[in-house]
Symmetry: C2
Subunit: 555 residues, 2 copies
Amino acid sequence: MKTDIEIAREAKMLPITEIGAKLGLLPEDLLPYGHDKAKVTHAKLADLADRPTGNLILVTAISPTPPGEGKTTTTVGLADALSRIGKQVSVCIREASLGPNFGMKGGAAGGGMAQIVPMEDMNLHFTGDFHAVTSAHNLLAAMIDNHLHWGNVLRIDPRRVSWRRVMDVNDRALRDAIIGLGGTKNGHSRETGFDITAASEVMAILCLASDLDDLEARLGRIVIGESFNRDPVTAAQLGAAGAMTVLLKDALQPNLVQTLENTPAFVHGGPFANIAHGCNTLVATRAAMQLSDYVVTEAGFGADLGAEKFFDIVCRVGELEPAAVVLVATVRALKYNGGVAVDDLSVENVPALVAGCANLGRHIENLRRFGVPVVVAINHFTADTEDEIHALQSYCARHGAKAVVSKHWAEGGAGAEELGRAVVDLVEAGDAEFEVLYPTDAPLTEKIETVAKKIYHAESVYFPTAVRNQLAAWEESGFGHFPVCLAKTQYSFSADPKALGAPEGFEIPIREVRLSAGAGFVVALVGEIMTMPGLPRHPAAERIRLDDGDVVGLF
Amino acid sequence: MKTDIEIAREAKMLPITEIGAKLGLLPEDLLPYGHDKAKVTHAKLADLADRPTGNLILVTAISPTPPGEGKTTTTVGLADALSRIGKQVSVCIREASLGPNFGMKGGAAGGGMAQIVPMEDMNLHFTGDFHAVTSAHNLLAAMIDNHLHWGNVLRIDPRRVSWRRVMDVNDRALRDAIIGLGGTKNGHSRETGFDITAASEVMAILCLASDLDDLEARLGRIVIGESFNRDPVTAAQLGAAGAMTVLLKDALQPNLVQTLENTPAFVHGGPFANIAHGCNTLVATRAAMQLSDYVVTEAGFGADLGAEKFFDIVCRVGELEPAAVVLVATVRALKYNGGVAVDDLSVENVPALVAGCANLGRHIENLRRFGVPVVVAINHFTADTEDEIHALQSYCARHGAKAVVSKHWAEGGAGAEELGRAVVDLVEAGDAEFEVLYPTDAPLTEKIETVAKKIYHAESVYFPTAVRNQLAAWEESGFGHFPVCLAKTQYSFSADPKALGAPEGFEIPIREVRLSAGAGFVVALVGEIMTMPGLPRHPAAERIRLDDGDVVGLF
């Protein structure tokens, strides 16, 4: 068996201008980064504004399990399959964060015969978007401390500055720090810390902005903390939004690369999927829809988190109307949900599979609430037995969803053609009537309760008094119309990562709420969220090196 | 009068592939970054290894003054002039640091009709080299704290970790910080801080490395601090060099852009000119020499600092033999050196000019020590009178150097043709017999004394006992063969920035010494050196914004 990186290195990549040509893009519509990566220019994006848009397909998955589901792999394989059956198609996914690759290991975008390339670049600096986010974020941070240093006209309370700094490296020592030491010339001492770049609100903003003007407006609305009389202080008040926009102007242009089968792929933006919405940029998805008949995209984690945020945040903000949803499941992951230990997942176990299907069933039911038709993709593993697949397909049929076996990992797009045809059937039936889960004008507590009860199936939601007061204060300050972004364990519908399947009767405790006023949502934290990872005892960085020009140890 | 940015925006740029073609580079030898920037591939650099090299011209200047000398402008104008008189030529300069542009303001590379473009890109992210340096530097920092966290096998003394972190932003609050707060999970608390990226030893290494292998070896030799028993601890011992090399592999490829007159320009690397050597990368200079008959490059600050470091560090390391030196002076700057106040510099004053020529004369004399012939470029200002220019030319003639009036600022290459011909005459006379100032195997104190006495004309050098002991310890540890890099005020030959002209009889006090074992030099600090600037009360960032796609406020 070849590894992902071996397969990726053997890819017959087309020049990026030829990939652009598949979308009707001329060489001058592209800003090349090397010969295999390009950005679509702002000028071209503006040209596209009035184009009719293609069909948007969301790929999501059951609750994540240790054996993995292969969501990105399915996203890529489906796009290649649609291309094979004659559709003009693009795929849209997130960019990888550079920092963590030096901790554990970098990864393919997809896997097996269903990957996006060039893999090395995508795991390193790529086109510099993350660095631009880091620069813009930290410029604002420097301007805050500079403002404190030069007399603090805005009367910012240094104890209530919530804007931290970011760096795209796993560096636990930077989580909590005291800065401004060393005397008067170095400003005021205060406690703060660093997050990883993917956790920056600037990243979330980049991913939700519709164009440069909207980007600047959103950056200006960032609340960096509070004044001594508890009023929110914004980036606009510090005069930072224009300069931040200048730093991000190139980064807002979508990155175009390709799959192993030369299907156009937009890889753009990389926000966290817990404290942010976890999807690629709206700009990329919109451009892809204007340039293609079919667009396949994905959302972070399982459907309870990723798809919900995609629908309630991204589609709401971007006025997108998905035409179909692909829900990825594997026989192995469902057996795990049914109580089978990781080491025993290769052994046939139909009863456990059927028990685990409760998880799948609830996701199907949830997705239907959004009015979008669902097809289940059974991402095939060689150990899957015919009886298991039959049982899984029967379960899905009973729940009103077709389930298609897809062999894209082993066979590329050819192995996903049946899935592709199933998606086309759903789209052409035209049954989608997309609607968001809750109205924009509902109170913030009600929005959180709606997600927790309707999607997670919680019995109750616990709001500590401080949280209730904070949400009320934000509604008072004019942030009540924001959608909510719940940061919860991805491993269970509940707050307990060990409660697999389809738990019932639990409480969702809201520990803390955070305002992302620029991104335009309120984050409700159910558990502790790590926003700056650390390196392991022996980080991958110790093994990563160049070997005759090839990067080794990164994968 | 048009501003530099207005002139730059009106530039008729050629596609970067056409600029490459002027050097015999094929499209596949270039990695494009947009249509007006490219990197020359490692593969092509390797191909060039055995090529004969063209003539290297160093542009340096008298001691810097508030009215400015126009060193980069002359560098660019001379290259354009050489091109006009039929030479195949490239220009090599440093990259701008992004961070400070948001403090005061960004700048042109050159000025008037003698500039390198695209100006906006070069003042923003350019091709991402600075971000790569930041990433590599901070990965090593994270690996140090990670090593302390996971048991500290190397017995690193946390109090003696000299490796700080870097960020390309002016942020005084980060100069001194305590990190690792917040309990066990966040590692060990210790005091450290941040420098600006240009001050990173990784930047100096990138600029002195000959290829990827040498880069990795140099990164491995970085001394990050000391163990409890005072032994140096290296990046190689932490296993960081391979991963840092991977992060820097693209950055080591020289960036190709162009002048307003479409002369090929390599803009690559940007180390500090005090705690480092202040020149563009050796890789770029070498590639330019392999691809062109004439290469014009420059060194930071005045000739006492910049040219000395270029000769004693860069040329020594890179085995370069410069063919000629252009020493830039202006009538205004010499009058300032002769005691005229800034406001009166536009009034004719021949006696003050002649008095100020003492500064010029000493630089001429110093440059001759290196065995390279010198021509003085009088960078023309409209207020210069004929009598002043005549007096200046007579002074130079008496000191054995031709002085040529150059009007490249107003007229571009056409205005510098006489200078170009003077340079060609020097080169074709073939009188250069380059030699470094001091032998590699001299003791470190002797090297410092040689520079201070022969170049600065100091009467004595003061070494505190701790400094003497430190230098002796480094010689003991095998670093005695390093050249020295003196960090001194650039405004005077002495340690007193107010002592203009050609002061005598002063002492050079060495305050502190620092080891740059990867870059391969010992830094001797004569004064306080600021390695992390702050933002002013009203930073440029408050005015920088996009206006209909154009960046305003940055210049």
